[in-house]
């Protein structure tokens, strides 16, 4: 492995849509010199087994992520607000499965 190249090439996040009508899902990341090369490498790394019909590549640096240290203040306050789940309705029988 050429570690110099790995240090110099930016990281890309790969999103693959498995079939028409479904959303693109994050499936991993890879190193590439630019967006076009990232797209081709994603084709070879992530769609070898017919996993997809469409690929998005996004520079990892363009993603702003939540801070794990702030997990408590970010996510815990939602824990006791079960009324936000739509589970308090009686669903009429004729609606069937939802």
């Amino acid at each position: 492995m050429n570690t110099t190249a790995l240090k110099e090439w930016p990281l890309w996040e790969i999103f693959v849509r498995s079939k028409q009508g479904l959303e693109h899902k994050h499936c991993g990341s890879l190193h590439a010199a630019d967006a076009s090369q990232a797209l081709h490498m994603a084709r070879d790394v992530y769609t070898r087994r017919q996993e997809g019909v469409s690929i998005w590549v996004v520079p990892s640096a363009a993603i702003t992520a939540s801070n794990p240290d702030e997990k408590g203040e970010f996510f815990d306050p939602a824990a006791d607000k079960i009324y936000r789940h739509p589970t308090f309705y009686e669903i009429p029988d004729e609606v069937g499965h939802m």
Binding site: A5, A33, Q37, M41, D44, R48
Partner: protein
């Protein structure tokens, strides 16, 4: 019928020999992503070879199998271009300790796929309908191989001083071997006569345009080529094919009829 078989073997031997060569990088690619990309190219080529050998075996009709054609013929019987059997060593061919050079791999794949996109395109109307079907499938693969190798060729040629020098050395070393593309072998002539094959001479202009365009974009120079014309496709090979086949065929010969 034998014209078709010989022609199928020429196409199949090309695919299996380059597939085997490129597979030598498996696990040793310059980076992980490219390792997978080149292994994919190899598997496409080996897949093409299988279909072509299967069709040749079917036409022979004497119980021959695809495995016998790939693993139990000797180098003199192979009809691949000499270009495809050369090691990845660039101009250092012949030195046992020479390192593989990825530039040689990329340039070779480019020169070959730039030909095959035209060959497969033309063979879609072959009088042999099975070959026409194989051509339609292979055209998509060759188009991707061309895109892959051309992309790297431009990046290397128009890259650093070292990558430019290596790419230019690989072009200087390998381009002369493409002269073999344009001489018509007896097998090719018979296949063209039967409506099964394509006359390669009719493809030269289109190939030249692809090559010149890519070399210009890669800031590389096309060397003058004259003199020796390789004859791999009539069975006169370099010393390298025997070693390649020895490795490729050893398992099948050690365990005949082995099944996995």
């Amino acid at each position: 019928m034998s014209a078709t078989i010989d022609y199928l073997l020429h196409l199949a031997d090309n695919a299996v020999v380059l597939g085997q060569r490129d597979a030598e990088w498996c696990g040793h690619g310059p980076i992980l992503e490219e390792d997978l990309a080149l292994a994919n190219v190899s598997l496409d080529l080996i897949g093409q070879a299988r279909l072509l050998y299967q069709r040749a075996a079917e036409l022979k009709g004497d119980g021959t199998t695809e495995d016998q054609l790939a693993y139990f013929r000797d180098s003199q019987a192979f009809r691949n271009y000499t270009l495809l059997e050369l090691p990845h060593h660039g101009a250092l061919v012949g030195y046992a300790v020479a390192d593989r050079d990825y530039a040689a791999t990329i340039v070779r794949n480019f020169l070959y796929s730039a030909l095959m996109v035209h060959v497969w395109d033309a063979l879609q109307t072959s009088a042999d309908s099975t070959l026409a079907g194989i051509a339609a499938k292979s055209l998509k693969e060759a188009t991707y191989h061309l895109h892959h190798s051309r992309d790297w060729l431009v990046r290397m040629g128009d890259g650093t001083d070292e990558s430019h020098a290596r790419a230019q050395a690989a072009v200087n070393h390998l381009l002369p071997y493409t002269e073999e593309f344009w001489t018509v072998s007896p097998a090719e002539a018979a296949a063209v006569e039967a409506g099964v094959g394509v006359d390669v001479r009719s493809l030269r202009g289109a190939w030249d345009a692809l090559v010149n365009d890519a070399l210009a974009e890669a800031t590389l120079t096309r060397p003058q080529v004259r003199g020796y014309v390789p004859q791999g496709k009539v069975g006169l090979h370099s010393e390298h094919l025997g070693f390649l086949l020895a490795e490729m065929q050893s398992l099948a010969r050690a365990h005949p009829d082995g099944c996995w």
